[in-house]
Amino acid sequence: MNMREKIKAAAARYPDQRSAIMPALLIAQKEHGHLPGPVLEEVADILDVERIWVYELATFYTLFHTEPVGVFHLQLCDNVSCMLRGAEDLLRHLEEVLGITKGGTTPDGLFTLSTVECLGACEMAPVMQVGDDYQGDLDIARIDALLDRLRATVGQATGADLAATVPPGE
């Protein structure tokens, strides 16, 4: 199914098209990576709803990104349970090895680093969401191994770009 068909299928679950804006935005974001203005307008057109309604939601809910994010979005929980298990040290480490501060994206576009509120996985704190997956019981060694794995999955095509982001001595 293309994006329009997926959105139409989702909309069939509701008696009111406006209810389908949230699912439609999730579908559109999956398709486009983020939600720039033209995509928001396309969603409004597909559902035949007011554009302002779509903008309202895209700017209210934190899972919607109106700006581009990296190939891998590292979302580290720093709420209380994770903080008590060392999330702050992990954030400092991630900032150091990626050479960015939280909220930033590496120049090669591979990693965006964010802190997020509780991910609802406190039994494996500290925890980080990477794309759709939860990575739990993290420590610095596991973070390093994870970053290596992620870099490896993008393959050789971007190898040169990747090399530039690997800090010296690693």
């Binding site: 008696p15 949230m22 309202e56 939601l57 809910y61 899972l63 209380v80 008590l84 509780c118 406190c122």
Partner: protein, 421 residues
Amino acid sequence: MFEPILLRNVDVPDGHLLATYRAGGGYQALAKALDEHTPDEIISLVKESNLRGRGGAGFPTGLKWSFVPKRAGKPKYLCCNADEGEPGTFKDRIIMERDPHQLIEGLAISGYAIGAETAYVYIRGEYTLAIQRLEQAIAEAHAKGYLGTRIRGSDFNFVVHIHCGAGAYICGEETAMLDSLEGKRAQPRLKPPFPAVEGLYASPTVINNVETLACVPHIVLRGAGWFRNIGPDKSPGPKLYCLSGQVRKPGLYELPMGTPLRELIEDSGGGPLPGRKIKAVIPGGVSAPLIPAHGLDVGMDFDSLAAAGSMLGSAGVIVIDDSTCMVKVATRIIEFFHHESCGKCTPCREGLNWVVKVLRRVEAGQGVPGDLEQLEALCKGIFGNTFCALGDGAAMGLRAALTHFEHEFVAHIEEHRCPFH
């Protein structure tokens, strides 16, 4: 040894599949409800069981159901609150990931009881695996006739849809969740009208938490008396406790309501980390006021915790030990509420912004005399003056930290530094 009820399937291989669920007696309660009981009888049974909502408020579930008008002339809706955003809480995620049919059976029986033909499960968008498992389970239940039209040869029709949230804590507030389901920014509604009369699409609506709904099949199968005999009579049943923070064995534990907090932490959780001492425990997610170490003999149920000046909330139990700065914990908690404030009402939106500024400077050793009085004045301005419970939760949490750990706040201001750094 307490035999797990809600978690009995979670460690069974393929516990998320219909075949596994049925092999363990699954969907017998739905058959029994449809064959042997009228909808009113189910409502009476749940009332009699004293089941109280597991989302945080502890409202009697059967009573909530009985508020739905019998003849509405409009469709009725059942909504499942699976937004689980209260920091320290992860119980609903585990049910949905590992035993989603338990929820679906609970939804179907509850839908039958209140006369709803459509349910929406509002699940947080981050819960990718839970969403996938629930989708698969709904499809399986449809294929085998546990959902759909004329279920098990009855006149009852029922469908379940998933609606993914997108990262707003406020959607845990039931009327904000309804606005979100209607495609609006999630902001709480003025009550009355209550959702039972005018909820989703202005139709009668019941909103129940995942764990609450998961209790329903067991009550139907084993009876109200059986349920009421587990734990305290006014606040009974099996309960999921989410244990996290500075404890040896964090995890999800099922024990009777009213289990002493100390027993949960020591026996299930293995006690504090090596060489550390417990300083305080947040018993019900960060909205629940913390309990200092000397108060750990309190029973983990709605009434005992309320009497102790806290609340069971979502039973997100966060253990804090003596290596941790309470000013920092309080600051992090208020930063959370500030971030999640929906912006609708002034005391919450502006008040929390102000509280965060004061707390951050105190934590950084830049606090000034009068800051603690300022914080109390802000709490007074927020508590009881906000549209929903978000602001109250923030004020209660901060007040508890200020009351029990005033000396730590004072030390930060007097020494111009954090004594824990």
